[in-house]
């Protein structure tokens, strides 16, 4: 299956790679589908994809870890069940619902409660806040992506932390550790491979997410899609494909869009291989609190 997908994606993109050159396509910043002026470059959308996912991870992972820790280690059992139920319910919400809610409601909250105060506080002195915010930008996309991936990451983290043997915790307590210390020195190290795996799963969803991003990221084209501030409009690989695929009538334009798909495929492969290596490296280190206290 994977081979078939890979094969057809690369076959579909041969035309664009021979027109722009592989390097030219990867590093180009123009995107013009007008007949007679065709020029396609994927760099801005690679940057946009990585930037929006990075924001989602920076916000999403700590929160998910916090939720998982609370549910599995700290909350009374009577509270843990309803909390995990609600979070799992959130994981079942389709991304278009998050997207529409973000478009009609949430982006105004982000603009008025977070972006405008930040913009006014720094008045352009801090480059990452130096753009008048509209609420349809990289930052909003990142936050909504974070909201979308939190349920997945936190559910998996919770399960991973729940299977940490009680003997680990008891050992920590017997050494006089507080509850937080027990979590830190006994539970996290034991569960870290699983936590990392959960984060990578979340990252995978964030990188490939399409419709939600299309609705809130501002969808600019060409060099402008390389974000210069946190409040810049941008575009991701998948959102550009979703935007233009329906009406792409010239073969070259179509091939360029399939080329973006190929780039996305390679990007996810790199992320996954990187994650595998990271997990393997971490698992080699003996788990437990060896050499910590």
């Amino acid at each position: 299956m994977v081979c078939l997908v890979t094969f057809s994606v690369f076959r579909g993109s041969i035309q664009i790679f021979s027109y722009e050159g592989v390097i030219g396509f990867l590093t180009g910043t123009d995107w013009n589908a007008v007949e007679g002026r065709e020029s396609f470059g994927a760099l801005p959308y690679i940057v946009g994809t990585l930037a929006s996912s990075a924001i989602a991870m920076v916000i999403g992972v700590p929160i998910s870890l916090g939720i998982a820790t609370f549910v599995s280690e700290m909350s009374p059992p009577r509270l843990a069940a309803p909390i995990s139920f609600v979070i799992e319910l959130l994981a079942a919400v389709p991304s278009i619902i998050y997207g529409l809610w973000a478009l009609f409601v949430f982006r105004f909250w982000i603009r008025d409660l977070i972006e405008m105060p930040l913009y006014n506080a720094f008045h352009g002195s801090l480059p990452i806040f130096a753009k008048y915010p509209f609420g349809l930008d990289l930052f909003t996309a990142g936050i909504v992506l974070a909201i979308m991936i939190i349920p997945i990451i936190s559910s998996i983290c919770r399960e991973v932390m729940r299977v940490v043997p009680n003997s680990q915790r008891e050992a920590a307590y017997s050494l006089g550790a507080t509850r937080w210390e027990a979590v830190r020195i006994a539970v996290f190290p034991y569960a870290k491979a699983g936590i990392l795996g959960a984060a990578i799963l979340g990252l995978g969803r964030a990188v490939g997410e399409t419709i939600l991003v299309t609705l809130v990221i501002g969808n600019v084209i060409g060099i402008a899609a390389i974000p210069t501030t946190l409040f810049s409009q941008s575009q991701t690989l998948s959102s550009l494909i979703a935007n233009e695929f329906n009406e792409a009538s010239s073969d070259l334009h179509l091939s360029a869009l399939i080329g973006l798909g190929a780039v996305l495929l390679i990007l996810t492969m790199i992320i996954n291989i990187g994650a595998r290596l990271l997990v393997r490296k971490m698992v080699k280190v003996p788990t437990g609190e060896k050499g910590r206290r």
Binding site: A33, F104, G135, G218, V220, I221, Q235, E247, S249
Partner: protein, 375 residues
């Protein structure tokens, strides 16, 4: 105990039998009447079409209305976008295609014998959200619009805009341009107009279903653009006239070729097409360069365009079309461009002017199935 078990098993078997016979009966009940029905209605004709999203509500209403006239004809239209419509039409997987932009020279080559049949008219408005001007009626020229969308005019109180609107107080804020992010016939009409009236635009950007926008925010769909305009102050964008009328978004009056500022409406769009339609090619000739933008005539609204149905001049070119279907298809389109136009007006679609109806009728008369005319 054993006896009980045997009894139970027998009972279960009986139960299974009963369930099975009920299921079988139900299946027969479904199959038999429907097969009788299909024998009865074996002359049912299904016409498949695909293409532009813009005329979808209209074609869908036609489907329902036509059912009352010709109950045996089923019309199945998939609004997959103009690009998809042209592709499916070229591949002959549908009986008719629909597109907002005429076929390009290259597309004409890959679909030899294609005819264009304009079936309705769309027009595009410049919608805005300026808090100090809550109503429609800001006056703009094509050149100013070009400069705004190029990012050359960046403030609402720029002298070029203010001088057109001496009676209005314009804010000193930055203009936020909103455009479609998805490929769209609406974008084609809009950029066709800007290319026509602004030489800077035509040199720098050009026309197409998706173009390299020099400035602004992209939003998907008419509803996405309308939402971005409504939710953000000091924005300007472009949407379909019918969409602007339904959502009551304020829009600009635009200067036409004769220098008048025209309110976009069904009447002013129809006037533009009527003024322009004298020079239309025949249905089987290339329509690549046909445009309704910047039409002459003192009441013409300058941003309009046809939406087209695509057929093959020799309908048997498409192996899926047999003679009764060819006849039904041509009859349906002949009805759509005449009586069907009345339906359009209530949905805010601009009805075709008489000259265009005449042209379409001539095109339909020239269509053949294996050499025989159908109308």
């Amino acid at each position: 105990m054993n006896k009980n078990k045997v009894l139970l098993r027998e009972f279960n078997m009986q139960k299974n039998m009963i369930i099975m016979s009920i299921v079988a009966g139900l299946l027969l009940g479904i199959i038999i009447p429907s097969s009788i029905f299909s024998v009865h209605a074996q002359n049912k004709i299904i016409i498949n079409g695909a293409g532009a999203t813009f005329p979808f509500p209209l074609i869908d209403t036609w489907r329902v209305d036509y059912k009352t006239i010709k109950p045996e004809v089923d019309i199945n239209y998939q609004s997959i976008g103009s690009g998809g419509g042209v592709k499916q039409f070229t591949a002959k997987t549908v009986d008719f295609g629909a597109t907002d932009a005429p076929l390009t020279a290259q597309e004409m080559q890959s679909a030899p014998g294609a005819v264009h049949i304009p079936e309705t008219i769309g027009s595009v408005v410049a919608a805005y959200n300026i808090p100090s001007i809550p109503d429609k009626g800001l006056k703009l020229t094509g050149e100013v619009l070009g400069d705004i969308f190029l990012g050359k005019i960046t403030k609402w109180n720029d002298p070029k805009i203010q001088s057109l609107n001496p009676d209005k107080t314009l804010p000193g804020d930055d203009i936020v341009v909103v455009h479609r992010s998805d490929g769209s016939g609406t974008t084609f009409v809009w950029t066709d107009y800007l290319s026509n009236v602004s030489s800077a635009w035509s040199q720098q950007v050009g026309k197409g279903k998706s173009v390299a926008w020099p400035t602004g925010i992209g939003a998907p769909g008419n509803e996405g653009v309308a939402n971005a305009i409504k939710g953000t102050a000091n924005t300007i964008g472009y949407i379909e006239l019918s969409y602007a009328l339904t959502t009551k978004t304020p829009f600009a009056f635009i200067q036409n070729k004769e220098g008048n500022f025209i309110e976009p409406s069904i009447a002013s769009t129809r006037a533009a097409v009527a003024a322009q339609s004298g020079a239309l090619p025949k249905g089987d000739q290339p329509w690549t360069n046909v445009t309704m933008v910047n039409a002459g005539g003192k009441d013409s609204y300058p941003i309009a365009s046809f939406s087209y149905l695509l057929l093959y001049k020799e309908l048997s070119t498409d192996p899926n079309i047999d003679e009764p279907k060819a006849k039904a298809l041509v009859d349906f389109i002949a009805w759509a461009i005449t009586d069907g136009q009345k339906t359009g007006e209530s949905l805010n679609y601009v009805p075709l002017p008489d000259t265009v109806v005449k042209l379409d009728q001539d095109t339909l008369k020239s269509l053949t199935y294996k050499g025989k005319p159908l109308l």
